[in-house]
Symmetry: C2
Subunit: 240 residues, 2 copies
DNA sequence: GACGCGATGGCAACGGTGTTGGCGTAAGGC
DNA sequence: GCCTTACGCCAACACCGTTGCCATCGCGTC
């Protein structure tokens, strides 16, 4: 899975493309992310990626098994960027919070990529490294192995899940996004209190939350629960 | 957004297709879900859907604006099925838990559909109805409007987000799913303790959690936190 | 220094996708 | 009985991921 088509040893000999680019796996990934980041770019495709590199679509298959393989590589690159430069402070709760927010932000910076990639467990190097860090934080904080794994699982999947969900709406074509927004205004703001009293009573708050992610909120609630569990087991205090 | 192409009033006159089917919006949605549920079906496409109905691909556009519109209709149908037959018990915590699990399960029953649809805020009738119910549960339980909306937001988005994430891995083609599974076994089970001590120490628990969703766990943690907040505000007890 | 061979880039094609315009026809309304 | 209109169908378009095939370049070997 995700094995390179060509061994690294042979990668010495390179031929520049017709327009002078020297291709590499990393260059494909970087260019793909650049394409996906373009505001009104129509998304990633093998053909557009090849065009951006001034080469032929078929050339991609010299470096990746296919689109799926490229997708996994993009996901791992996002994870690398998410934790790049991060340093642990030793306070488990704020460390976890910071890590979660970083992953979330990294994916949101490339919404289209997130949608493509985040559902895959790639097992690539940077993802494994992140998993080791998170488990380390929890076990060092005093959680037992069973609890640590359970919280790790909930934490990681929650971060990825919100990243996918939030990225998915960002990744919508602008027309669809505007339509959704208008729908919210007209539907939820003007619902009669007779039929939908609770929505009508809270519509002001609902609209305020409309375009903001619920992830920080959900993350804090997860950490609340974890901290309470830790306090239950030990009589001691957790972090901060 | 999602407005029908043809007014309902005109829908009286129907002509059967060449193979005798009488088409309708509902029939398209049901057939699409049936296609998506097929174990080794290659997913949904306009052409396959048309073929399953014994009609022409272009006929779909008489009933929906396009694939995106059909997608929203499918999502709303999933929501309808999720809450069909549900009854409130009056205990807010177990009511919310039951609702969350139902939505999650409903989406997982049609993974491909979930991937397509759950990222869209459709604002269709069954989704609005579910929102009203959830807000009602929270406000009746004693949460203030601000807190109710915040918890509603986290609860709904978390349920959808996990549904998408979990469905996405279920929706993978069988080859990719088996590859991911093998990758877990070889990567996480046999990682040397020297380089990855925390993964190595907990690998038994990690593997055990591998194919199970973290959603129930995360849901309980969210409800934990909400209950603690409620207990903070009132001196009273919440539910159960 | 010439050769051979394998790695690489480019061309053309295949089967698939969502979508559109136009044509015939059958069903109501008047 | 006519006319309008909704509907099913055909053909075509542009795009997608993928795959043989061929030309060419670069390095190791003799």
């Amino acid at each position: 899975m995700g094995k390179r088509v060509v061994t690294e040893a042979k990668r010495q000999r390179r031929r520049p493309t017709r327009q002078g680019q020297v291709l590499s796996e990393q260059l494909f990934v970087d260019t793909a992310l650049r394409l996906l980041a373009q505001e009104d770019g129509q998304g990633l495709s093998v053909r557009r990626l090849a065009a951006a590199l001034g080469t032929d679509p078929s050339t991609l298959y010299r470096y990746f098994r296919g689109m799926d393989d490229l997708t996994l590589a993009i996901g791992d690159e996002l994870m690398r960027r998410a934790v790049a430069g991060w340093r642990a402070t030793g306070r488990w709760r704020s460390d976890l919070r910071e890590l979660g927010l970083r992953v979330h932000a990294s994916y949101l910076a490339h919404p289209q990529a997130a949608v493509l990639t985040a559902s895959r467990v790639s097992g690539r190097i940077h993802e494994v490294a992140a998993d080791e860090v998170i488990l380390g934080i929890l076990r060092t904080a005093g959680f037992g192995d069973r609890d640590a794994v359970r919280i790790y699982h909930a934490f990681v999947d929650q971060s990825l899940a919100f990243a996918v969900l939030d990225a998915a709406s960002l990744a919508l074509p602008r027309t669809a996004r505007e339509a959704d927004e208008a729908m919210w205004q007209t539907t939820y703001a003007r619902l009669p209190a007779a039929t939908h009293p609770h929505i009508a009573a809270t519509s002001r708050h609902l609209i305020a939350h409309m375009n903001t992610s619920a992830y920080p909120s959900a993350l804090d609630m997860l950490l609340d629960s974890a901290q309470a569990q830790l306090a239950d087991v030990q009589g001691a205090v957790g972090d901060q």
